[in-house]
Amino acid sequence: MKIENLTIKKARELLDKKEISTKELIEYYLKNIEAKNKDLNAYLEVYEDVLGQAEEAQKIIDSGNAKDLTGIPLAIKDNILIKGRKASAASKILENYTATYDATVIEKLKKEGVVFLGRTNMDEFAMGGSTENSSFGVTKNPHDTARVAGGSSGGSAVAVAADMALGALGSDTGGSVREPASFCGVIGFKPTYGVVSRYGLMAMGSSLDCIGPIAKTVGDTEIIFDNIKGKDKMDSTSITPPTPLTLRGEPNKKIGVPYHILDQGGISPEVKKNFEESIKKMQDLGYEIQDIKLENIDKSLAVYYIIMPAEVSSNMARFDGVKYGLREEGANLLEVYKNTRGLGFGKEVRRRIILGTYVLSSGYYDAYYAKAMSAREVLRDEFKKAFEQVDAILTPTTPAPAWKIGEKSNPLEAYLADIFTVTANIVGVPAISLPSGFTPNNLPLGVQLMAPHMREDILFKIGKSFLKENS
């Protein structure tokens, strides 16, 4: 039986009908990893016990107790903890760290009987939009290996795009699931903040972080999402997701487009053209497009690059060479701290910690951080008002397609790529990136939909229709 162009849904059918075994399924992906990973560098580690995991899953299937994801091979981002396995957040400071507990999402996926193929490359501590900031090499875009895969969940996106996994988990703090998915031509989904537990996800920006799935179809991201969501007593910021009965049942046919954001500079003509085509596509599908104004959206990037580094500077303090991770030598305790963190952290991490320390320091706190927190509330309010008029908001996912490795010469240039994605994290709403076409030189492009808090269902519905997936 030839295993090609599978989706999670299709694989489930084939496994349950016994047309393929988990062994065959997993061997197919292991073969692809063997062939492609050396060049693409999507996986930092492929687990040695993968076939053993497949065997366990097969037993479950044979006993008639298969669940949605039993036997399904997934790739997991290197900042999500799996007990007994290494997790380094692509950083030298955790290069040899072994996780001492399972993340809640992993616990849930283990109960499903998922096969974990390995841990994927990322920007160090999720700081970046290209995976160029990994301490273990960049991940290449399978559509053009001279270009970045996007980030920070670059490895996860490539694992799916290059057929090295059926699905993957990433984390999204400012677009880190949606942007690489867009650059690689796959689907990236960010849930409402709090709907998926962050317990066991190495914290970057605690008020912004979300774990999200990357997959080949909207239906597949929905399956993964349904099996990782849920209120968790180990994460005090987690909330109970709505059950289908509590969701409103209206048609959800109005899509808002904030046309005014397209007037700013830095958006490539290919993105503009593709976006217009995507709008037309939505109209042809029967959606009503409304021009909406989001007054303060031009401040989102500034809000993000103040709040996020501030939270980063706090979250990175735990990596001090004391209880776990790298410990560098020093004459005294202070030197151990400084040497460990100076050598263990990469450039971008050091940069953001120092920026965060600055915006939180006395004399600057009010001018930057306090202002950004106020602006955040206003943005939340603006989105609430916009969602009174429309059911979803459509924007391009990124202002330009994947850039060439090494092309962005300064940090600010790279930050500007986040312009459309950060707002969903600032405001907490769910968002999805859908592949929307290619540039003339075959680089994937994506569009982003945002929905009100807890209305993931709207994103799945519109997404499936946009990509012509039959339910």
């Binding site: 007990k83 760290y97 072994t98 001492t100 507990y101 709090g194 007593k233 005090s236 910021t237 909330i239 303060n296 401040k299 990037l301 500034a302 809000v303 690059y305 103040i306 500077s313 303090a317 001090d320 060479g321 004391v322 209880k323 776990y324 991770g325 790298l326 410990r327 020093g330 005294n332 305790l333 202070l334 151990v336 400084k338 040497n339 963190r341 100076g342 952290f345 050091r350 940069r351 910690i353 120092i354 920026l355 320390t357 600055y358 320091s361 001018a367 930057y368 202002k371 950004a372 927190m373 106020s374 602006a375 509330e377 206003v378 309010d381 300064n410 940090p411 600010l412 930050y415 907490g428």
Partner: protein
């Protein structure tokens, strides 16, 4: 203009060793970033903030939860049995002796 000395001071606060040339680099980079994010100072929240329903209540400018404030603390009871995680955690100590974590002298 943020100075090299200021970068050094911040790096010390953050317990990160940063060499001279990196201090200069960072000063330039952080300057450029601050130059961008300072547009936030043009933002005036007073008119824009949502008003509280109750006139005498303070403005709702720190409402981070979706449903407003709620208590997420649990009761201080049913502690984990001592020793449950010790072996795994001690295995991650960079330096240990007899199950104790070895660190630099503090006093």
């Amino acid at each position: 203009m943020i100075s090299k000395e200021e970068i050094k001071r911040l790096a010390d606060l953050a317990r990160i060793e940063v060499g001279e040339s990196e201090q200069e680099e960072l000063a330039q980079e952080i300057d450029a970033i601050l130059d961008y994010v300072k547009l936030i100072q043009q933002f005036h929240p007073d008119e824009a903030l949502p008003k509280a329903d109750n006139d005498s209540a303070p403005p709702l400018n720190d409402k981070r939860g979706l449903g407003g404030d709620m208590n997420v603390w649990r009761e201080d009871e049913n502690p984990t049995e001592s020793g449950t995680y010790s072996k795994d955690l001690i295995a991650e100590f960079p330096n240990s002796e007899n199950n104790y974590l070895k660190v630099k002298k503090i006093l």
